[in-house]
């Protein structure tokens, strides 16, 4: 199929960016969205132009590197799917596709479609762990039985891949879904109980320092999340936060 791509180009963090239009031919429905981008880049390189820079790595939908705003939707039109797992059969011959980076003050653009998401790392450094030494002198794993339903729920919260689509989808650029998924995983497990108070306070504080917006419960984050992280996590974090502060 033949496509018209409108892509955000920005030479560096301080440079002014703009949308640039590229026609692209020979796109096959079995290609992934990023393989389509590979073809464009190969063409640009062969013409001696600079290719479009974008983050990507595993191309299996699990590392959370890829992050494209496709026609105004994080990771494009297909539900529960990362950009790398989106396939071109979801588009039609003759389509125009706009591709932009995540837009959020806490995710500054580095180059083209690449943004700096280190703010997510810092939120986790603030408390998303159990302070247990990695010495191997821990108790036998089965001495901590956990109700299956709770373990499954904690697992579900832990499936967040840290891509940032929730922030990109939110009109306030809030990181509540991301942060609450991490808080929830530990809140649901007995291992996390001991440090629960400090954890939620420190992580929320860091989230605010990074410049993420507030949550106004529109739920766009859950709709766009490629892993289906649920809004219940936000409710749970709010209740953890309240508990920690009274």
């Amino acid at each position: 199929m033949k496509l018209t791509l409108k892509i955000w180009r920005q030479a560096g963090p301080e440079a002014k960016g703009k949308m640039v239009t590229y026609p692209l031919d020979g796109v096959d429905g079995d290609m992934s969205f990023l393989e389509m981008m590979d073809i464009l880049n190969e063409e640009l390189v062969n013409k001696g132009e600079e290719p479009v820079e974008f983050d990507h790595d595993c191309r299996e939908g699990i590392c959370g590197s890829c992050n494209m705003m496709i026609n105004g939707q994080p990771h494009g039109p297909q539900k529960l799917t990362t950009t790398c797992q989106l396939h071109m059969r979801k588009f039609n011959d003759g389509d125009t596709i706009t591709i932009e980076p995540w837009r959020a003050a806490a995710f500054p653009v580095i180059k083209d479609l690449i943004v700096d998401r280190s703010s997510f790392d810092r939120i986790q450094q603030a408390g998303a762990y159990v302070s247990v030494n990695t010495s191997g002198n821990t108790q036998d794993a089965n001495s901590i039985p956990i109700e299956k339903a709770k373990a499954d729920e904690a697992f579900h919260s832990a499936t967040c891949i840290g891509c940032g689509a929730c922030v990109a989808a939110c009109k306030n650029a809030s990181a509540m879904l991301f942060t609450s998924a991490k808080v929830s995983q530990y809140a649901l497990l007995p291992q996390g109980e001991i440090e629960a108070t400090d954890r939620v306070q420190n992580m929320v504080r860091q989230m605010d320092i990074e410049g993420f917006g507030n949550c106004t419960n529109t739920g766009a984050c859950m709709i766009e999340c490629p892993k289906g992280i649920k809004l219940e996590n936000i409710a749970r974090m709010n209740s953890e936060y309240l508990k920690a502060n009274i």
């Binding site: 030479a11 390189v45 290719p51 959370g64 986790q124 499936t159 291992q191």
Partner: protein
């Protein structure tokens, strides 16, 4: 040629590690504060090593090319992690895990290392649970297990189809805790471009900041390489797009021997190549072989009709199907080890029985499981006279619970519904057992430079069993390297801070800059991918699932020629002073172009078949691998030469005191 000393401690196998730990040199806490360690790579091995080293008191710097350690490719491991917990009471033990791993590796790994791995395996699960890793559980609240290829017990712990992500997030959380305490300084979006040696010892690295293009010097008392494997030398593999051999290869260039490069694991259950545009291959977890049956048509005419789209596999009668793994290996059936399953698929496809357009695919069929699970489900839910259709529908629900995410992924990529038609699969490059040669302490042949995880060679021999990569990464990082490195660092307490203002650092930085300049100033004829794809084809066709002398020799010539062409004609646009992904790729492909030739040379040198290394000249009448224990029970460790064909061979003789070398049989 010299014979390498693995420094395996004396004494009975089961006591070696405990005794070694008891006699290893320790560094007192006050001194640890004055010692710096660099860890390159932050996946399971690097992340867990960095966290533990920091916790012990060392000052740690970590380096990774991704924007966050959480994205390392350990994250993509699906199936699980082995541990000899024997929670299922099915007779598992440290010895059995050790034995299965040695046998699975076709008797080409080091006994003492493998036993140590089995010994610490249980501790890994304890550690991860304590950290809050959400493993799958049974209704009673205890941990669940599944079984994997090449073994007869259920010892695999898992977290749905994303065990790798959950374990990596566990290691990442431990790392974050140390970053928060200021004991680890992370350098993300950085790539190691050279190892710096001073007086023969590893004293630091040269790194490139991938955002600004700056070339940086970092000094340390020891350097740990945990940068993963080199499967991307094949261009198409299940590795991440950025996975590369650079850190390991730069270390090799500076004197670390590279061991068994030809030992590559080609995983049997991957989604087949769909076209020219293919950028990577996707694995379907080995756990699917617990419930899926692998087959091709019995008759060539049927296979041809399927390929031409005139017949659907699902319509083929039971008696016209060839469940070739069950036929050839009745004892293990669909759960034979990966190398055996891959070769068997290739054998059928080469004989003309392949079932997709390219002829390179076999079926992985769940129809029997739908019915089997559906029957149980119907009976236990009080639905005593369910029809076959009803049972199949119930069975599909059970399968969906077990593998739903994998089925979704398959559907998404292929646009076919595996609940209705069998999956099509084909082997793909997945893991590399070879890597930097290390002794029992995980130290390379460069003093002060260590290697952990997939980047080293030591534990999996010529073939890795499923669910053992995660185990080895965490074993090395949490429980082995942080202690064995003390043996070396105990002599460094009087060294003082490592200066980067020395002639050695000057020279290494100069070399690095010259290399980048050379890459930027090629004649500009072909893109980096052009070369990478060409290299990949040579590797796949001539150094892939089966190899022979003629092909390997021509592969060496072709790669050498391609490498010369690359350095003359490669095209890297843009500037070296900004983010430049083409430049990053160029540096990596340049190293693959050297490694590829050494890989072929290593395969040529090994005149036997073992594990993932299958030489057509050395097979039994039944087409099974024919090992030569008299002449080849050694590790090939290559000393660097800029013309890989002239690399010098050193050997480590493998001594087996606790297992009898047998022909590996899964029949």
């Amino acid at each position: 040629m010299s014979v390498l000393d693995s420094k395996v401690p004396k004494g009975p196998l089961a006591e070696k590690w405990v005794n070694h730990k008891n006699h290893i040199n320790l560094v007192n806490p006050a001194n640890k504060r004055n010692i710096d360690v660099i860890v390159v790579g932050t996946g399971l091995a690097g992340g867990s090593a960095a966290a533990t080293l920091a916790e012990l008191g060392y000052n740690v710097k970590t380096f990774c090319y991704n924007d966050s350690p959480r994205r390392a490719h350990s994250i993509a491991a699906q199936g699980g992690i082995n541990a000899a917990k024997n929670y299922q009471g099915d007779g598992d033990s440290n010895f059995r895990l050790f034995y299965d791993t040695i046998k699975g590796g076709d008797y080409r790994s080091r006994e003492a290392n493998v036993h140590r791995l089995a010994e610490v395996s249980s501790n890994i699960i304890d550690q991860c649970v304590a950290q809050g890793v959400p493993f799958a559980r049974e209704y009673g609240g205890l941990l669940d297990n599944r079984s994997f290829g090449g073994v007869l017990v259920s010892r695999t712990f898992y977290a749905a189809g994303q065990t790798g992500q959950q374990l990596l997030l566990g290691a990442y959380s431990a790392l974050n805790r140390q970053i928060n305490r200021g004991k680890v300084t992370p350098f993300n979006r950085h790539e190691m471009l050279d190892l710096v040696k001073v007086d023969g010892k590893a004293r630091g690295i040269i790194a490139r900041n991938l955002v600004t293009g700056e070339i940086e010097r970092h000094g340390a008392h020891a350097v740990v390489i945990a940068s993963g494997g080199y499967g991307n030398v094949f261009f198409l593999s299940t590795n991440a797009m950025g996975s590369n051999v650079m850190a390991a290869w730069r270390t090799h260039r500076r004197g670390a021997h590279f061991a068994n490069p030809c030992y590559t694991q080609i995983h049997p259950t991957c989604i087949p190549v769909s076209g020219e545009h293919q950028s990577k291959l996707t694995l379907m977890s080995e756990s699917l072989r617990n419930d899926g049956r692998i087959w091709v048509p019995k008759n060539l005419e049927d296979a041809k009709a399927i390929r031409e789209g005139k017949l659907r596999g699902v319509d083929l009668k039971e008696e016209d199907r060839d469940y070739y793994l069950e036929r050839r290996y009745p004892a293990f059936g669909n759960l034979v080890p990966r190398d055996v399953a891959s070769r068997a698929a290739k054998e059928r496809c080469d004989a003309g029985y392949g079932v997709n357009k390219t002829g390179n695919a076999v079926y992985l069929d769940f129809a029997a499981s739908f019915l089997r699970y559906g029957k149980i489900e119907a009976l236990t839910s009080g639905h005593k006279d369910a029809s076959e259709a009803e049972m199949i529908a119930l069975g599909k629900k059970v399968i969906e619970k077990k593998y739903g995410n994998l089925f979704d992924m398959y559907m998404n990529i292929t646009d076919e519904n595996p609940y209705e038609v069998p999956m099509k699969i084909f082997p793909a490059v997945h893991y590399t057992m070879g890597g930097l040669w290390v002794d029992y302490n995980l130290q390379t042949t460069v003093p002060g430079c260590f290697a952990a995880g997939e980047a080293n060679f030591s534990d999996h021999g010529a073939n890795r069993l499923g669910a053992s990569a995660l185990m080895q990464g965490l074993a090395d990082g949490y429980f082995v390297l942080p202690y064995t490195i003390g043996d070396y660092l105990a002599d460094e307490i009087r060294t003082g801070p490592i200066s980067t203002e020395t002639a050695e650092f000057d020279q290494a930085e100069k070399d690095t800059r010259a290399r980048i300049e050379k890459l930027m100033n090629g004649a500009g004829v072909h893109s980096v991918d052009y070369y990478h794809k060409k290299l990949g084809l040579i590797m796949w066709n001539k150094c892939g699932m089966s190899r022979n002398e003629t092909d390997l020799k021509s592969a060496m010539d072709e790669i050498a020629e391609l490498r010369a062409d690359f350095w003359k004609n490669v095209k890297v646009p843009g500037s070296a002073d900004t983010k430049n992904q083409e430049l990053e790729k160029a540096g990596r492909v340049a190293d693959f172009l050297e490694l590829g030739e050494l890989f072929a040379k290593d395969a040529l040198d090994r005149n036997e078949s073992c594990g993932g290394h299958f030489r057509e000249e050395y097979q039994t009448e039944e087409g099974e691998a024919l090992r030569d224990d008299v002449n080849y029970a050694y590790v090939s460790a290559w000393e660097y030469n800029e013309n890989p064909r002239d690399a010098k061979l050193h050997k480590e003789n493998l001594v087996f005191e606790n297992v009898e070398l047998k022909t590996r049989s899964y029949k």
